[in-house]
Symmetry: D3
Subunit: 160 residues, 6 copies
């Protein structure tokens, strides 16, 4: 059976040694969604007179979370991200916000955890800002969409 | 239309004033799942000779993340959590790990974001530790299960 | 000569003991400004076709910084802020953005440092977002406007 | 009209991609002042028998704040600063402390925000340590003095 | 056999629930030492012309570390410390610096970990500042000296 | 007399400039011990029916603390560690847990503080998890065992 790289021969956790790996340009894209009531989505869209800040706040939260990734995920390496962006799409048909996060790095290890952390925290922030009107929201489909750079083959998620 | 409490009359974000609220005993329980290949689940379960640390690491990551919630979610209040626990159940039928997080506080505001953050970061940590063997894992069904305490009625998620 | 409370009898720094102080409702309001070129202010105001995010980002940065105050200022006490807000006024006459920060707490010590930190970091964030077009911006007039609660008399800054 | 680099074509905030930029040796110097009563300045100077720790504490706070810059300013890149120093000059003529911060890096992006953050937090720390005797202190003239390295021309602030 | 409170019935780690405990005034005092060459101790003492900042820096590091305790020690509760102090004694007879840390809180749980963290990080900071001249330094005797408040009996370390 | 590198010519603290140093592969190994009652050690070893999480939690705490080193130790440089591991040995003869921490980096400065911080925080975490049954535990012998890479000669601690 394949072994988990984050556990040593005794099953103990350690931060994998990436010292010997080459510095390459790496990119990862992650996705998430948050499903909600139609009324909640309308509030986020700001269909009233006032354009609200919900997505602006969630975007910043996601970007900052990408930078905190190695503090949140115990075995992640500290990284110097060269780029982070978080984008949103309002899906009125399915009453959800689609979230995309993209991180880039010139370094020795991939940035998929940073991208996944960005979309997760962006989704949590939307939940926080809307929970007073809708506690039933569900965050889901957090997954890696794409990954480039590094020694392993590039990854692209298969359409379901 | 109901207003979002985190936006003021101009649509600007602010941290809601909880100064006038009573200190009560509050509890929140959140849930999440991470779906994966059967082989990946077997590695987590440690069905080989060695009992691995994956869930122990994820549990600690989740507990610590609950404490970082106000640093991650921009409009969350800093809180003095009195209790945090994160538990896992391996669901071999559906090839997933079910995650439950419970936070408690004697304070002026609810702890649902802390519980949701705990399960989200625990799930991300499982992803991190298993991604070398399975990049297709999906984190989902992050939701609030239950909430007690405070002025608003207690909340219990309806079974779907 | 009056002594500095943050230094003990030997001149060594310590965190002042507030254990014996009463829990009261406290508020502090701080102000700052950032002066810039007229063109830079126009970009912030979004007088073109697109409404930009500069002030939304600076507002979030200020709110989050208030929560980090005890981590930034070595002798500040950790606090559970009950409310934080940061507001902006564009002053086209003097080509500056005026920043106001307000923090509240039910606690044993004042929140003036939290309010001052909020406006300072909001101003630094505006600098960051505009520095590509204007490196000559100056942040100034960071001061405490008002302070209420606690044993000492309420404070209100005299008009100059 | 020139565009703000931190906003994309839709006016949304993002962390600018510096992946393609060259690693060069970069330096930035920032300045700030804090104005106060003559008596307060005398306490800082330690003109009594005891040499106090005010400036030592403020220096450490400034150095540590430079390292926290990417956590404070949402769109700043995480950086591996190679050098940080913070210095003070007591100006008895104008009753103020002049603060200078210098940061250096071998990297892909400038360190002006790190230097500006260092002097701002050093000034806030002086305010904190002296506020019991002087709430009227004003922090001002926070600006970039000089910047070297990187593709854009070196910057040196013009004397006013 | 007595059970460890931080492990539940399944041996899993959790943050102990202190929700039902009374808020009382609590104090903890911890100690540590760092042993070094006589020459290193002389440099710290500043027996030359210049009084150095080593102990001032270590004091601040220790105070700030006490505030970070719940971020460092996974199962510690976040606390609102009301007082932290760190003191040093130079022991020329045994070529060591003795470090004492004292933390206080009005809360539901003890502050011994905060005091122990303060002296540990103060010692590490002295090591850092002197390591260029003395890599053989040893940090030791980190222990709880005294603890007051809370339901359990007060603790005072027996002289050895 | 040799000068302390972290103090400038005026005795003021600063972060040493490593900008001119070469990027080399660096490793540091540190050690610590925590002494306790035989019963406490037995609880950690899990000699009963249940295998507890004490060392798993302490290991994660140590690894995460290595990454926080530059935030804890004021004059440490931020670093991108390429590897961190923390290991434990139960010494039943002397009733203690021996802790070893190893950090690696491709960078401009050594990682001895990161390794020392890892073992210190791992020891503090063991103390925290066992303090309910044994407050007399003592953490000691925190020292640098070995250091490789960089311009200065490699270091190996002499056996006592």
């Amino acid at each position: 059976m394949t072994e988990l790289t984050h556990l040593d021969a005794q099953g103990n956790a350690h931060m994998v040694d990436v010292g010997g790996k080459a510095v390459t340009s790496r990119v990862a894209i992650a996705a998430a969604e948050i499903r909600m009531n139609a009324d909640t989505l309308a509030l986020i869209a700001g269909r009233g007179h006032k354009k609200g800040d919900v997505l602006a706040v969630a975007r910043i939260a996601g970007i900052q979370a990408a930078k905190k990734c190695s503090d949140l995920i115990p075995l992640c390496h500290p990284l110097m991200l060269t780029s982070v962006s978080v984008d949103f799409e309002l899906d009125n048909a399915l009453n959800r916000v689609l979230i995309t996060g993209r991180c880039a790095l010139d370094g020795k290890t991939g940035v998929e955890m940073e991208a996944l952390t960005a979309v997760s925290v962006a989704a949590l922030t939307i939940y926080d800002m809307c929970k007073a009107v809708d506690k039933d929201m569900v965050i889901g489909d957090i997954c890696l969409s794409e990954k480039k750079g590094g020694k392993s083959d590039d990854y692209k998620r298969k359409a379901e």
